[in-house]
């Protein structure tokens, strides 16, 4: 590994949140943004000889992210049934038209703090669903409740966390 490799990787990592936020804006579909971030990283490192790493790399990363996100969006949504494609396109337009800034790194930090403030029962939902990968059907079975109730609880939980994040970052 040469010094430029190291520098390019460090610069990317320093802008990871910026890239992730853009990926979510251009391709707002579950599971897509992480693939986009990884691909941008690979392309950024692969062509690092071309970049002027002494200047601000944000504009370059923004261009690359947009390009990769649009490519991935086309490829992935093309495989979906027509009605799901329509839904995806509608959500993409909503994200594109949204003016609210998404400061990924700041919000991630805030979210960590917000998680610590959650009541035990809410935290149990987070642990089961996000940390242990238990499905809503299984959580319902374990907690002896309807799966709709679990879905509602997870939605309320995210809304609560969102509100907490907004307060912390405002």
């Amino acid at each position: 590994m040469n010094n430029r490799d190291s520098l390019a990787a460090q610069l990317f990592l320093a802008n990871h949140g910026f890239v992730k936020a853009l990926a979510l804006k251009y391709a707002p579909w579950p599971g897509l943004s992480e693939d986009i971030v990884q691909q941008v990283f690979l392309e950024f490192i692969a062509k690092e000889e071309k970049w002027d790493l002494d200047s601000d790399v944000k504009p370059l990363l923004a261009k690359m992210t947009r390009f990769v996100a649009l490519r991935y969006w086309r490829e992935r949504t093309h495989q979906l049934p027509e009605v799901v494609q329509q839904l995806a396109e509608h959500i993409r337009r909503l994200a594109e038209e949204r003016h609210k800034e998404f400061r990924y790194d700041d919000e991630l930090d805030a979210l960590r703090r917000c998680l610590d403030k959650l009541p035990i029962k809410s935290r149990a939902f987070v642990d089961l669903y996000y940390y242990s990968g238990v499905s809503t059907v299984e959580i319902a079975s374990q907690m002896k409740m309807k799966s709709d109730t679990v879905c509602r609880a997870l939605c309320r939980l995210r809304e609560r966390l969102r509100s907490c994040i907004d307060t912390a970052t405002s």
Binding site: N2, D5, G31, L87, R112, L115, C151, R162
Partner: protein, 560 residues
Amino acid sequence: MFDSLHPVPTERLIQNLLSGHLTQAEAEQLLTKLVQNPSLGAELLDHLQTDEMLLEISKSEKQSLSSSVDHNLLFSDRLRGVEELSHPQMRIKWINSPLWATAFAACVALLAGLYFYLSSKPVVLKQQVINESTTCAVVTLTREVNAEWAGIGETHSVGEALEPGWLRLKAGVAQIEFYNGARVLLEGPVEFQVVSAKEAFCRSGKLSAEAPPSAHGFCIRTPQLNVVDLGTAFGVDVSSSGSAVQVFKGEVELHDQLVSNHYLKEGEAVSVAPNGVPHYFLASHVGFMSISELEHASFEEQLKRHQSWLSFSAQLNTDPSLVVHFDFEKLTPYEDLLHNSAANTLVGDATIVGCSLGSGRWQDKNALEYSGVSSRVLLNVPGEFKSLTYAAWVRVNSLNNYYNSLIMCDGFKDGAAHWQILFNGVVRLGVANTNSSTAHAHDTHYDTPVIFTPERLGQWIHLAAVYDAVAKRVTQYVNGEVVMSQPLQFETPLRLGPTQIGNWNRGDYTVDVAPIRNFSGRMDDFEFFSRPLSDNEIRALYQESSPENNTVNNPQVVRK
């Protein structure tokens, strides 16, 4: 119950969207709601962003938990994190330059540390840290016949432990076993997502499933319906005209993720059109392959591939550069001599010590089982070699020792070439240079990235190492693909002499204690050429000798 107009609560629609389980009918409903209620759009985007961040936090905490035990583990996991993000060319570029070897380690540690820090900064561990290996795998690929995987570079081997994710089978048949005991037979073309050890999603294609009592509640989702097993055998066929379920044995529960349930008994079947309209009919096995049919087809395929290998092997034995070829074909339980099949060689047969007979990479083939510290094969290889190639099929049971020998000549004299697997799953070709009169008097290690992760234990893997004095490179291969390539650090003629396959003799008997370096597992084929085989030759050797029909590139270095 299959009515697309049946209202589904918004929370469920959002949840199913985030978890990837949204049906077409639900997508239609969510779209309608979004159009009718503009404020819902902002809420949905908030859910999406929060969900992504929660997933990232859980991922980084898991990494932190699994890697905060000891420094070595921490470093290797961090390194792995960076490797996951690096493409093969870049990885090789990093490894190539010996001058940067030290800088490499330092920079990777720095980078990995930075990446790790950035992605997991104020993490507070709330659980007690336990030093044990972990896996995310939930199913095993147990059988395949003419399987062609659709993804670029996607291929899977029998015995491979698979984590949740997509399996896209273009053609052929594959059988997977969930860790709860459910067996699913996929018939290509099929798009199948393993969700957990109890749940899967079939987007398109045909499958049949058998679920024992331990798998009660096993669920297969399709775009139109969910099938929950109640101790049964059933078939699922998903196409653009809808989803069909046929129950061959027992009973299944069908539901649309809401409240209304419906039971389908043995001999009954239902197809559900994309608009949700059900059509009931009688179940029939016709069109679905049974497990026993797959077993038969699999055995036939294995016989065919074994016969094909025997023809290739006979041709290979006449290669003038082939010094040693142990094919383990004619082994018997009482045999202690291992026949060297190479036709043009001075190296004779080898002696088997402490090994037993095991089944090979095909059901009707033998292999040598190394099971203890005494297991070894002894041979004598006279002469010097400017270049060489080692190749072997191995099925590693465990990595009990710091060094686990593949082939090692006695002692570590000048020019000794030791091929071994380290405790951490790295495959190493070590070459000794003990001649102090040279400028670079040292032993050199040519290491692969981690190859043998816990998931790879118990699988047949093809390994090859090439020491090329002409190109001045050492290259190692896994399943026919290059996993490392480095320039020679110094040139020396390679000498083997008294040698052991699967063990090591220190070369002197002056003390009673000897290091334990035995291989633990099975070896099914071993070749030693006195020339460097090319990339294409190694790939051909792998493809011709592979137990499965693998023609797709399969970069086998560690990945998530």
